[in-house]
Amino acid sequence: MTVTDELVSYEDALATYDPVMGLEVHVELGTRTKMFCGCSTELGAEPNSQTCPTCLGLPGSLPVVNAVGVESAIKIGLALNCDIAEWCRFARKNYFYPDMPKNFQTSQYDEPIAFNGHLDVALEDGEIFRVQIERAHMEEDTGKSTHVGGATGRIHGASHSLLDYNRAGIPLIEIVTKPIEGAGARSPEVAKAYVAELRELIRALGVSDARMEMGQMRCDVNLSLRPHGREKFGTRSETKNVNSLRSVERAARFEIQRHAAVLNGGGTIVQETRHFHEEDGSTTSGRIKEEAEDYRYFPEPDLVPVAPARAWVEELRAGLPELPRVRRERLRTDWGISDHEMQSALNAGAIDLIVATIEAGAPADQARKWWMGELARRSNEDGVELAALPITSGQVARVCALVADGKLNDKLARQVIEGVLAGEGDPDAVVAGRGLAVVSDEGALGTAVDEAIAGNPGIADKIRSGKVAAAGALVGAVMKATRGQADAGRVRELILEKLGAEG
């Protein structure tokens, strides 16, 4: 580690400096076709099978704007409380990269479709922080490079690169905040909460699944420090492609500590892009921006201006769904949980899943218990988002129903969930397949209880004499004998009944 890579403690950094952040989030829209051609956006196809002259940038090809892409952009803009441009153009952002077929990206420059908005985000303790939105604009994604032969998968040291243009031209919306000031020590938390809130919003609008682990939502964290009391912003670093909520928080935190160390040591921050490393939460230097890159923007002459009719914009505004924060507050009250619990559900991406499970018939506390307990643990372990686990809200609801009917106890239900996740089929199929049903045959249960009483005469006597609490030991014995498949409540009833005690 070089001197500049040493960190000062987070508390010390905040004692001296005031962080200023800028967050740039790219969202891949879930349109059926690409932004400027009719190619499919389906993921996982053979490389370069979803391409045409336009998204390959072949000589002579021309773009045509995807109307659904524009509609999605306007919806996002409206939900972010932005003004929607009455007239705006696309622009060419000129730079060279082999996975960009035209060597310019069709984007928007000084005429974004949406601008001047804000998003209120809820912090863990329920406090609301308002993040100002600079703009949201439309652009296209690039292709994907795979560098072969190098040690790190990076281009350095690679013998050759493979290019897949299936992603080239997929619609992107870039959402840029104004400088986020005044969050102080809570800056990393604000960054995380903002991205989480934005993700919920995008999903609520139905314009994208916004799955960060699949690159459908990507965040750049720009951060600078200034000494307390100073107006002028410090030099910023730009940490690129931070692709999980936790990473957004960690990256901001790391950069605060790193910047502080550099500044305390009398150094200056270099304006550069930085890479974030999931393993240890650090960032390392990427490309140094010796001079601001000159993209030579100019209005895209191959496309006509976008001029959304006001009536259409108002129609879209009227059709916006309930905003996630408002909806969450409603659900929080319905479910009777704290701000903190709700925030955890949000961060876990569990809210819609819980709602769907409740809609499928499960009680709210049960639905929440499974998604925030067993399933959240699994999603963390497997490193996949909750929604990506191979279990549906309907299946979870079915497990809840089996428990409510006394067909499963908690322990067995856990095993059923495990079975569903392992691909053994629906809950009922797992129950049948693993033979997990609670022993509810009164005769068999009666026999087991009789055996337990006979085998533990001392305990039985205690119960007979009124020490009902001792029944637990006999219940345990019965459960052991039935390999956990008995309904513990019913077993207890039977024991008390047979020993003439009052429960």
């Binding site: 072949l58 090809s61 045509v64 000129n94 030579r296 100019f298």
Partner: protein
């Protein structure tokens, strides 16, 4: 038997429809003519003998089955090598695309094929349509059939030379600053730049997207109109294509008449740099329009004097971006791919070898003009000039139906004369560029031979946007009167080669 190569397109179609000659015979006659003269002219970069004969046979088959044939079915055409043709090389006159076989047809190519037009091959052009002489082609210059030591105009010199040497009755050009009209002017042929957006640009390799416009080239006004109608109309693949009915160009070409029309002579298109013989013939044409019953007035468009400067900022700026895709990664030439060079080096080596001097000059000019800190002064100011020019046109079209001017200040100059003097070369497009900047329509047609050198002079007619039919109404009247005066079409006076 009549020489099938000397007929107009309209006559050729009628001959085939009547069964007096088969489309195959017509195609073969033109292929033979190409074989006989193109070694001298060098109008074609690629002759698609097989494709042409296949297309001709298809027309003959359709006729044999009694199917109705369109107005251009079986008529041969020379296609500028800037339009993509599925399975047939498309080079845009550049080494950088040598060997590229497009996987798709341009919309224009598709429409020609659908109309039963027989595409003979791809014609020579200034590299990426940058030039006014076809000398900038990476594949060698084209000779002007009137005098093979002179230029046939550019960038579409291959197309104009093919027409003037009777290798094809129809041709396609593209006009960014005059590349259809100036070649038509110096070869004694007819060329039309339609209203911007009138003909689809999908599959036309871009030079300057906001200026480029494909259009018809022919030996008569009616032939140009028939071709115009075949290629024009809305294309959902080109966002800038106009979604409105094509102006009635064929009807206009069949009914040439200028009686009662108000025609403006642009005052600014005269003076220093204009060849005396060009002005003589132009003034005669103006006189003719008066005799034919037009009301001719002088108009002034002061901002036109800034057109050339604005053009040489906008066109290079757009081309610097359009040509960025030629990076040796996906198609065309690749130099230095021997395992010792990085991707960036391969791109640089390929561009150094694959682009000619004029292309490099314009890419550099454009890159500079778009750079931050210079954008407003250069690209931004040029766009303002563009607005002023559009307003000048709007103002004068409030009082006149069409404008006229010489198409280009001089007759065909000798090959090599201006090759090392870009500024002199750029002046060839002085009269044609304003129309590209404003996006309206214009035509060039012959108005005689300059007395001092016996070479063709072109008359330019300019119409408002979407009034392309006016070009044909005026052009047909002028053509009929001149042909009557001369006793024959002007190309009868060209050498037979």
């Amino acid at each position: 038997m009549t020489d099938l190569t000397r007929m107009t397109a309209a006559e050729t179609a009628a001959t085939i429809a009547a069964g007096e000659a088969s489309a195959t015979e017509v195609a073969q006659a033109h292929l033979d003519r190409i074989g006989a003269v193109d070694e001298k002219v060098h109008a074609f970069l690629h002759v698609d003998t097989e494709g042409a004969l296949r297309a001709a046979r298809a027309v003959d088959d359709r006729r044999a089955r009694g199917e109705e044939l369109g107005p251009l079915a079986g008529v041969p055409l020379a296609l500028k090598d800037i339009f993509t043709t599925e399975g047939v090389p498309t080079t845009v006159g550049s080494k950088i695309l040598e060997g590229w076989i497009p996987s798709y047809d341009a919309t224009l190519t598709r429409r020609l094929k659908d109309a039963g037009v027989v595409i003979l091959g791809k014609t020579n052009m200034d590299e990426f349509a940058m030039g006014s002489s076809t000398e900038n082609s990476a594949y060698g210059p084209t000779g002007n059939p009137w005098d093979l030591t002179r230029i046939p105009g550019g960038s579409g010199g291959g197309s104009s030379a093919a027409l003037a040497s009777f290798q094809a009755p129809l041709a396609i050009g593209t006009d960014t600053g005059g590349s259809i009209r100036q070649p038509a002017s110096v070869t004694g042929t007819v060329g039309v730049k339609p209203t911007y957006g009138g003909v689809s640009r999908y599959g036309m390799v871009a030079f300057s997207s906001s200026l480029d416009q494909g259009g018809p080239c022919a030996r008569t006004v009616l032939d140009a109109a028939l071709l115009h109608e075949a290629i024009a109309g809305h294309d959902p693949l080109d966002s800038t294509s106009i979604d409105a009915p094509v102006p009635p160009v064929v009807e206009a070409a069949r009914n040439g008449d200028v009686r009662g029309m108000r025609i403006g002579v642009v005052k600014e298109f005269a003076g220093e740099g204009y060849q005396a013989g060009v002005m003589t013939r132009f003034n005669e044409a103006v006189e003719l329009l008066r005799e034919l019953g037009a009301d001719v007035v002088e108009v002034s468009c002061p901002s036109f004097s800034y057109a050339l400067a604005a053009y040489y900022l906008i066109a290079p700026s757009e081309c610097s971006s359009n040509l960025a895709r030629f990076d040796a990664m996906r198609y065309g030439m690749r130099v230095g791919d021997d395992g010792t060079h990085s991707a960036e080096e391969v791109t640089a080596l390929t561009r150094a070898a694959g682009f000619g001097a004029e292309v490099k000059r314009r890419v550099m000019l454009g890159t500079y003009a778009l750079s931050s800190g210079y954008y407003d002064a250069y690209y931004g100011s040029a766009q303002k000039v563009r607005t002023l020019i559009t307003r000048d046109f709007e103002r004068v079209f409030g009082g006149v139906d069409v404008l006229v001017s010489p198409t280009t200040p001089t007759t065909a100059f000798p090959i090599g004369e201006r090759a090392d003097d870009p500024m002199a070369m750029y002046l060839a497009d002085l009269c044609t560029i304003p129309t590209n900047l404003a996006g309206n329509a214009a035509m060039s047609l012959p108005c005689g031979l300059a007395p001092e050198d016996g070479l063709p002079v072109g008359l330019q007619i300019i119409a408002p946007a979407m009034a392309d039919d006016r070009l044909y109404r005026v052009g047909a009247a002028v053509e009929a009167a001149f042909t009557a005066r001369w006793g024959h079409p002007i190309l009868e006076e060209a050498p037979t080669l």
